[in-house]
Symmetry: C2
Subunit: 139 residues, 2 copies
DNA sequence: CTATTTGCAAACCCTTTGCAAAAAT
DNA sequence: ATTTTTGCAAAGGGTTTGCAAATAG
């Protein structure tokens, strides 16, 4: 809670209850969609609107606080963890698992940059699987 | 042209002029969006409809003829090249460059599969750059 | 007090769908 | 002749926008 206030101050954003609720939810839930956030936050803050979620996530993206993950299911997912990691997306149940970058990928990125003389802002790695431990448990 | 007919026969799809125009365009243009395809094909086939493009790309995706590339600019792009490769997306001019997979990535994928005991259907690697040779030339 | 943010509703844009007419095999 | 495909228009679904009222600093 305290951290959120500091974070927002750092980013020069006003600490509205809506904003704090969004950050709190982002830090608790794995990879929520806009709708996930909306539905959950509405419980404690019934007057919040979807547009507010959208606007705030937009702002937080700009400020580099959250990243957007595209699971190709038509809905974006949001992730407050900004350390380099890859995503393992399950085509079946749409869950997302994080996995840390390792030396391998750092190395790969570096080689890519050198061989092409480019600066890579972001290396997005998405592994798609047809089923995962989550949906296996369900079925 | 001939190749397209064989390809369609193989996939048990009827060889309509619209379908052939789409395949032709996909094999000529780098990574067109739905709209790119529509606008271009309309020149030679003015009666074609956007819905036909959508339906056909959908079918071609199912049949494994094209893949979908998500550049996070709100529009999907389509790619008839099915060999393993990664995409370098320019945030500035939205162009996409292909780059072949190398041993590095094959290796990485294999390690990932073994360490987690999963089967990766697709490993999508998207490198984002802030500017590229295409937009440098323009500016 | 000033600038930002909220919430609402409408607008937007890309994509999908239903269906009758047309075309492919 | 049968099945697929087309084109149209309407609907769908996620996202964005404009604006007045509310709120944070």
């Amino acid at each position: 809670m305290h951290n959120f206030l500091n974070l927002l101050k750092e980013k020069e954003l006003k600490a509205t209850p809506q904003r704090i609720a969004i950050l709190k939810e982002l830090s608790q839930k794995r990879h929520p969609s806009m709708d996930d956030l909306y539905e959950t936050i509405k419980h404690e803050n019934p007057s919040i609107s979807l547009a507010t979620i959208y606007k705030n996530i937009g702002t937080l993206k700009e400020k580099g606080v959250v990243i957007e993950v595209n699971t190709s299911d038509g809905k974006m997912r949001y992730d407050i963890d900004s350390s380099p990691h890859i995503h393992i997306v399950c085509k079946n149940c749409h869950s997302i698992e994080d996995m840390d970058y390792n030396e391998y990928l750092f190395d790969y990125q570096e080689k890519l940059e050198k061989s092409r003389d480019i600066k890579i802002e972001k290396l997005e790695v998405i592994a798609t699987v047809n089923s995962c431990k989550f949906c296996k448990n369900i079925e």
